[in-house]
Each structure stands twice: as C-alpha cells, then as structure tokens.
Symmetry: C2
C-alpha cells in the first residue's frame, strides 16, 4: 500500500470522517476515545461554547508569547496550559480517570491518576510541584478499596516527589457512578529551557520514543475481558517528569515537542503533532518497540499496537543536531532505558503520519476515529 | 435550652458521633454531606492513607510558614492550598460537581462549577487567574445539554474574568455515571494582604456574613422533589472573588478567616472554624438573614436554614477594630450589599458554636452528622 492509494479511502488531514458533530445528538462512547471523535467533541462542542472564556484569542500557538497576569499561551487541544504569573510561568493540567477495572496488573486508578497528571505537566516542560485530588465515589463503595487506592495515590506521589496539596470528595447515590472516578490537576513551574508545544515540530526533527508501547491498553483489555494475558503483561504506568527534565537539561531549546501517547496510542499523538505543526511524520515501524507478549495479544485481538494506550512512555521531536545527545540523556534515566529513534519529520504530506513497514512499503498511520476500548484511563 | 444541657446529648467537639469510620465497611451517602461524616472520611480514610504525601508534616497551620519550592502551609481540611513558588504564592483549589438536577432556578452545574472553585480560591486570599475543566460524561448524554452547560461555564468564566485554561473530557458507558459530572480546579495568586486560615480566628473577632443564606439548598430540593418553590427561590450561585478582594483591600491583616458555607451550610462552616481555631463562636440567630420564601420552605420541610447549602455567600472573622470598615467594604460590592454582623468569637466553649435565639435562649449549633440532601453541588 502506498500513500496515494490509501489517501483515496481515508484522509485524516481533511477530516472527511467522522461526521460533523452537529448532526449527532448524543454523546457516544467514541467521544472519549482520544481519537478523532474526541477531538471533534472538543473542537465542535466545547471550545465554541466556551467562546473567549479560554482567553486564547490573539495568542499564537507557535510563538513565544510570554504570558503575564494570567495570560495563556497554549492551544485548547494541548494536554496542559502555561499560565504566566509575571515572574514565573505555571503549567497546569487536569485529567479525569474512569479506568475499569480499578485494579490491574502493574497499577490501579490511584497510581494512574498521579502519573497521568504529572506526565501531562512534564510534557509541557513543567516541573510538577503539587497535585489536587478529587474523588467522585459511588454510595456503597468498599472503604477498604478506597483506602487501598488512596494509599496508592500517596505512594505514587511520594515516589514522584510531588505532594497532594488539596482535594475534594463527593458521594453520589448507588447507580449514579461506577465505583470511583478520580480527577487530578497538576501544577508545575515551567523549566527555564522549556518552550514546548505540539505546534513546534519542524522538518528534519528526529522522532524519539522513550520505550516499548501498547502495554497499558493490552493489560486493561486483558483484565476486563478475562483474556488471561495478565500474567505476561503489565501497565507501563510511571512518572516521566525526571526523564523529561533530563532531556531538557541535555538540550533544552532543541526539544520542540514532548507528548505522552495515552488514549489513542502513539498514532494519535503523532497525528495531533503532525496536524498542529503542519508537517509530515514518517516512522520506521520495525523500530517501534513492542514487547513480545503485547505484540502477540495485539495480533490475536486484531489491534494495531500504534493505536493502543500507553501510560509510561513519551515521544519527543528533537532538532537532528542534538538528537543523539537527547537520546543518550533518555537512556541514562530509568524511564528511558530503551529509548530509540523511530522516525523523522518531513515537509511532505503535512498533517499526515506514515510508517515504513518491515517489507519497505509505506502505509498511512491514521488516528482512531471512534472507540477502540472505552475507560482505558 | 442552655449549653450545658445540650452538651449531655451531643458534643460535636469531642467527636462522640458519628461512629468511627474503621467500623463502617462501605461509603455512605452521608460521607458526601459536608458534615461530620465527610470530615471523618477525610480524617480517618483519606489523610492517613496519603501519609506524608501531603507534605504537611512539620508545617504549622496557625503560623506564617511562607512556603517555598512547592511547600504547602495549609491543613488538609481547608478547601484550598497555598503552594509557595519562591517568588510567588499560588493558591490551588479543586471541587467535583455532581449536582442533580443539572439545571435549576438561578443556575446550572456549569455555572456552579466555575463559581464554586473561584470562591474556594478567593476564600484563601487568592486572586483567581485560571480554571481547569474536566468533564465525565455518560454515553447518550444530549449534546444540546452539553453545549448549553459549556456555554454557561464560558459565560460564568467571562463574567468573573477567570479563563478556562485547560481541560479534559471522558465518556463512560451508559449507566456508569448520571449524565454529567464536572471537576474544576482553580489557580490563583495569593493577594499580598492575605494570611487566611480556618485556624486563625481569635476571641473578640467579629463574625460577618455577606448576605442571605439557605437559598441554594432549598432551590435544589424544590427542583428535585417537585415541591413547587422554584418560582419563589433561586440559587445564590455567584463569584465572590471581587468581594473578598475588596475586604482584604479594606483591612487585609485584620481578616483572619474567610469561608463560603456550601455543603453543610453556615453551621458546618462555623463549626469547622471553631474547631480549627480552638475558640467558641456565638451568633445572634435573628441577625442571620433568611429570605421569607426560603424560611417558609425550611419550616415546612423541617430544615434548619443554618444547615442548608449556599453557593454565593461568605462568612468572615475579622478583628473587632476593623469590623466596621470591612463591613462597609462588603456593602459596597454587589455580592455583599446585604452584609451583616452576625456574632463574635469567644474564649468560652472552644470548638463549639452557639446561637442566641429570638427569645434570648442559647442553643448549640452543631454540624450535620450525615446527609441532609445529597448531590447539592
């Protein structure tokens, strides 16, 4: 399959699917996928309804607009925002966690909530300083599970060195929620070297990946559906802020984009970056590490590992001159031991991601449209 | 009824009820009440499980510990935390909103989420600079309602001058949530004059209230149960940050405590302050403004207006020498037009709140134990 042929069937850059949201009357599970439907929910419903309440009018997502007095310089589609306080830039990110089941191989909802939010702050170049923690609890939820999950939040926060500074808990009547949902918000101070945005990738940039993909999604699927892979696979949930800081320390200004590919997988993250930066991305598919049991599970289930969620790896777009230095810095951090270069940015086919396969063909890597697996995080 | 007699039946300061949480095996609706059960959930389950992950060991909630490098100086029971960034102190607060119904007289869940979080930041002396917005949406939720609520978020944020800087949305399968839950987190810069904490009330302080109470709770109850009061009552949901700033501007160092009495009503807020500050509080019951239709509804339903939730008023504890100046500043702000002095702090009966009634008797005002009305906010 070559690019031209594939383009005839589906062209994600032109947004030919999914159908515009104005014709859909109800929220679908796919609107939570992290793929194209999620993006359309944000673009077609949430951002227009907020209007100028996001105070984004007039800011240039590619520029070096240095906020002051609460001005933001980030686009509504980033996972975190930078809030300029005049003397210091604060990075803010929020995420709700609705993962099912609550406990799984390698982690639980509490650990996921801490790591996920720390990582979103880190991907914008923030040094995470504190977290807020909000529980929505279903009446009848076992206190033992709540204690266990809260202890896991505490342990993850302690290991990461990021305290839980404030919180909230609400209880809803039985049947009005499914056990427990957690929303965490992270606050960080922007590292001086960091000027990161999904819109800053440039032709020539090397694409670096911190480690193996698709572990979290396959683990959740196996736990939920009783597929029995649990013994062989585990979620990769881990904090990435130290890895990100090491990369910025090695060559701050040369790191243009950092992103942790969670919902929607590596494919969605790369597509978002290609679209925001109006560049093409080409990856070498065989260079992308997929652990053997994960690859086997994906093959059995008909999943493309590039679409499967991760919770502990990052992808970075780096000036080619500093790519080796950044890669070395990544490998010196426990979270980046298996870091690899997986591709590069091209001026061709802006907004589109392609993969060179093992047999030398080139295929389009598109974003998930709807829901592959609900409640993955 | 005098204080001594009442003490024999129930002594909230000694925590004789509710039963310790270790003997309860499941979360009860009352754990979300904002009353004693809520406090015990936080104290007995959440704070111990977090351990030192809140990094509160060694900080003195009464002191002027000026945080640096991410240190917090607030107790886990406050509604917001102060995060010292060295050059600037950031105030952070988070709240999940699970109100039912989503639309009610005077507002909706979107407006409530914006105001509630702005108010928690303001009560700690923060000038709110930005909000994060996280939606948990049930599959099948009408897009029209989502647009309407998001527009309401935008309108409330615009009116308050506090932008929505980042967000998240998750969709859960039908039956796993009840329509829509919103979690907002507010970030503010601490105003220079502000050194506020529930633990800083002193004997002699005047207790000031910004306006009428019990409107929000009665409105929600009426809407939910079809009681037909809706035409006469409306939620008081409104932002209080400008009012709070005007008060601090009038006499910053003399304002010791500010609190917006939401879940659990004015009674719970006063009890929390009395306990945190180890002082007694005496209020003049007839001085507390309750709108006539709200009072009538409370009487019919057997509710004490002091226990009913508010979303647009604040109570402040102020040095008596500056109380008149602060009261004048309050009355000059639209949100404080009807501000009144309702009582004072005493050294007697620390940890306890009493009310002088119309006939001159004194009764104990205790915290709600369990749930008066679930999903009020």
């Amino acid at each position: 399959m070559n690019v031209e042929t594939a383009t005839e069937t589906v062209d994600p850059a032109q947004g030919s699917c999914p159908a515009p949201l104005t014709e859909t009357e109800r929220v679908l599970l796919g609107h939570g996928s992290g793929g194209q439907l999620s993006a359309s929910l944000i673009r077609d419903v949430i951002v227009p309804a907020l209007g100028d309440a996001t105070k984004l009018a007039g800011t240039d997502p590619r520029g070096e607009v240095h906020g002051s007095g609460g001005a933001t310089e980030t686009s509504p589609l980033e996972d975190a925002a930078v809030l300029g306080l005049g003397v210091v830039d604060v990075v803010v990110s929020t995420d709700s966690f609705v993962v099912s089941p609550l406990f799984f191989s390698g982690g639980d909802i509490g650990k996921l909530a801490v790591h996920g939010t720390i990582n979103d702050v880190a991907m914008m170049g923030g040094d995470p300083l504190g977290l807020s923690l909000a529980f929505i609890i279903e009446e009848g939820f076992p206190l033992e599970d709540l204690r266990r999950i809260t202890a896991s939040v505490g342990e993850a926060a302690r290991e990461a060195g990021v305290p839980v500074v404030t919180g909230d808990s609400k209880v809803v009547d039985r049947g009005s929620a499914d056990g427990l949902f957690i929303t965490t918000t992270g606050i960080g101070r922007r590292l001086p070297a960091a000027r990161l945005s999904a819109a800053l990738a440039r032709p020539g940039d090397a694409v670096l990946l911190s480690g193996p993909i698709a572990q979290h999604g396959v683990t959740i699927l196996s736990a939920r559906e009783g597929l029995g892979f649990d013994g062989d696979v585990a979620s990769d949930t881990r904090p990435l802020h130290r890895l990100a800081a090491a990369m910025l320390d090695a060559a701050g200004g040369s790191v243009h984009v950092m992103r942790d590919p969670t919902r929607g997988g590596l494919a969605s993250a790369l597509n978002e970056i290609a679209q925001a930066s109006e560049v093409g991305v080409v990856i070498d598919e065989p260079a992308v590490p997929v652990p053997t049991p994960v690859a086997a599970a994906c093959e059995m289930l008909g999943l493309d590992p590039l679409h499967v969620a991760n919770e502990g790896c990052l992808v970075a777009f780096v000036d080619p001159g500093d790519a080796d230095a950044v890669l070395a810095a990544m490998r010196s951090d426990p979270a980046g031991r298996q870091a690899v270069r997986i591709g590069e940015v091209v001026a061709d086919h802006p907004g589109r991601v392609t993969a060179r396969t093992l047999i030398g063909a080139e295929r389009i890597v598109d974003m998930l449209i709807g829901e592959q697996l609900p409640r993955i995080c």
